[in-house]
């Protein structure tokens, strides 16, 4: 498209949306540098909360645990979810509709109920609690998001591309690796980003299924709310968002996942 008033308008719109999306994040970051423990305005600069956070072993351990669990969840959920999306897209089989509808219960039913159900069921069948149980739960809750996102991308996939590749002698796995996957890469990346967000914010499952002392950051935050959490939470959240932003921008330098063209 040529540069036109419409394009300009579009960019302004995009900029406004980014301001909207980042408004609470900026406030969160600003409050981590605000002296008031009750998030009071006017703003008064202070780095106390960072100092306090640095000395708070519990918060740091929990943050690291959360990141590790979210990374593991992202990898597993993305791989399994992408595979399932490809299968749902490529094949027609009896019961396919049902499998697609079955993705909704984990999204629709409030996590508190799903979490309680997991706790009772895992206890009954002997999976018990601990990190494996937490991972099982997180991956399951992230999977529907990955499948829906990757399927959204696949829906516009041109099957003739695969057929052309096959007619030139490529076997099914080669087709998948060389034709299908590159095409759906943006969908996979988006799915992975969502999976990370779901796991990183997941409170109920970790809360019910982790061993005492093995707290994750959301559990710490939600259980602290009764007494009141301090801007230390903002400090650690700000660090996490900043670091992930840096990592992500490095990633954009070396890969193209937004879709070719």
């Amino acid at each position: 498209m040529t540069r036109s008033p419409l394009v300009l308008l579009g960019r302004i719109w995009l900029a406004l949306i980014l301001v909207f999306l980042y408004a609470p994040i900026l406030v969160m970051a600003a409050m981590s540098f605000n002296a008031s423990p009750f998030y009071q305005l006017p703003f008064e600069f202070s780095t106390t909360w960072y100092a306090k956070m640095a000395g708070n072993q519990q918060i740091i351990t929990a943050a690291i645990r959360s990141v590790l669990i979210a990374c593991a969840t992202t990898v597993v959920a993305t791989v399994l979810g992408t595979a399932a999306s490809v299968a749902l897209f490529r094949y027609d089989f009896p019961g396919k509709r049902i499998l697609q509808v079955l993705l909704f219960p984990p999204i629709a039913i409030p996590w508190l109920i799903t979490g309680t159900a997991m706790l009772v069921f895992f206890f009954a069948v002997g999976i018990g609690r601990g990190t494996p149980a937490v991972l099982i739960g997180h991956v399951a809750l992230a999977l529907p998001y990955v499948i829906v996102t990757v399927s959204a991308r696949l829906s516009s996939f041109d099957v003739t591309l695969e057929e052309a590749a096959r007619s030139m002698g490529a076997d099914a796995w080669t087709v998948l690796r060389r034709v299908t996957l590159p095409w759906i890469a943006p969908g996979v990346v988006a799915g992975a980003l969502f999976a990370f967000a779901v796991s990183f914010d997941q409170f109920v499952v970790s809360y019910f299924l982790s061993e005492p002392g093995d707290s994750t950051l959301p559990v710490l935050i939600y259980t602290a709310i009764r007494k009141g959490f301090t801007p230390e939470i903002n400090a650690i959240s700000t660090i996490i968002v900043t670091v992930s932003m840096a990592v992500m921008f490095l990633a954009t330098r070396y890969s193209k996942f937004g879709g070719s063209r």
Partner: protein, 287 residues
């Protein structure tokens, strides 16, 4: 679409599909089936030896008007939030997919989702700081405008909508983007060379071709918002009671899992019914 005539194809289907669904079965479907079973009980078996099977928990939904009132309120909220997400998010995706090229597109793509790598509770409280009386928003507006403005957004339904639209907007933006970006630019150029206006291109090419993506995003917004309770409670003040709240109460305030489970499955059934009712209409719109 491949058929399943050869055993090799069947095996491939099974290999691709079964890990995800086995995982979901163990971690979600079986536990939720247990909950479904509980929803038909009078009492939890472990603490009442005289428990029995009943439809009473579902009947409760019909006899107590509170639940239906709140479900309607939650559905209205979900439609509103989904509507705003589409109106705001789709144009945004359009710009991202069709007007921005190269590295900056990759960066923007990430920037849309990165705010959500923070804790939702921290984000909601940040919204409270923005929206409350004499908060960040009012101060900013009053700094820009010469006259005194009182927005009074905090503890209103508007605040709940703002908070929820914020939380779910990325789903619509990214899924729409994924579909829009897949639309061949040659197709658009061809249409333009034949004299199609921008609006026609949007209406006849971009919108139909990206509809699956837009719908996927809309579903990812609509479905969880119906059952939400955290954002409404903190931002909505005394207006903040929704259907999700009464489900939560059955687990947190009183020990009534059967009723809480029944209310959840009614929610699920209503959501699926709405999606099912919408799908033929949308299919027609697509062709």
């Amino acid at each position: 679409m491949a058929d399943l005539e050869t055993p090799a194809e069947r095996r491939r289907l099974f290999t691709l599909l079964s890990p995800a669904y086995l995982w979901l079965t163990v971690a979600v479907f079986l536990p939720l089936s247990a909950m479904l079973f509980f929803s038909f009980l009078t009492d939890m078996p472990q603490d009442a030896p005289d428990w029995g099977v009943t439809l009473g928990n579902y009947a409760e939904f019909l006899t107590n008007p509170t639940y239906a009132t709140l479900l309607r309120k939650s559905l209205t909220l979900a439609f509103t939030v989904t509507g705003f997400c589409i109106l705001i998010g789709y144009p945004c995706a359009l710009v991202l997919a069709k007007s921005i090229k190269g590295r900056s597109r990759e960066a923007l793509f990430l920037m849309v989702i990165l705010p959500f790598w923070s804790n939702s509770l921290v984000r909601i409280f940040s919204w409270a700081i923005v929206l409350r009386g004499n908060g960040v928003l009012e101060r900013a507006v009053n700094w820009l405008l010469p006259f005194d403005v009182r927005l009074n957004l905090m503890f209103t339904t508007d605040a709940v909508v703002i908070g929820l639209v914020h939380s779910y907007l990325p789903y619509v933006i990214l899924t729409s983007y994924l579909a829009l970006q897949a639309v061949d630019d040659d197709l658009i150029d061809a249409a333009r060379s034949m004299g199609a206006s921008k609006l026609t291109i949007l209406r006849r090419i971009l919108l139909p071709l990206s509809l699956p993506g837009l719908l996927a995003g809309a579903v990812l917004v609509f479905v969880p918002v119906v059952g939400s309770f955290m954002e409404p409670r903190i931002l909505g003040g005394r207006m903040g009671t929704y259907y999700g709240t009464v489900i939560e109460d059955q687990f947190v305030a009183v020990y009534n899992w059967p009723l809480g489970a029944a209310l959840s499955f009614i929610l699920l059934a209503v959501v699926i019914a709405i999606l099912a009712a919408a799908s033929p209409v949308l299919k027609r719109a697509q062709t």
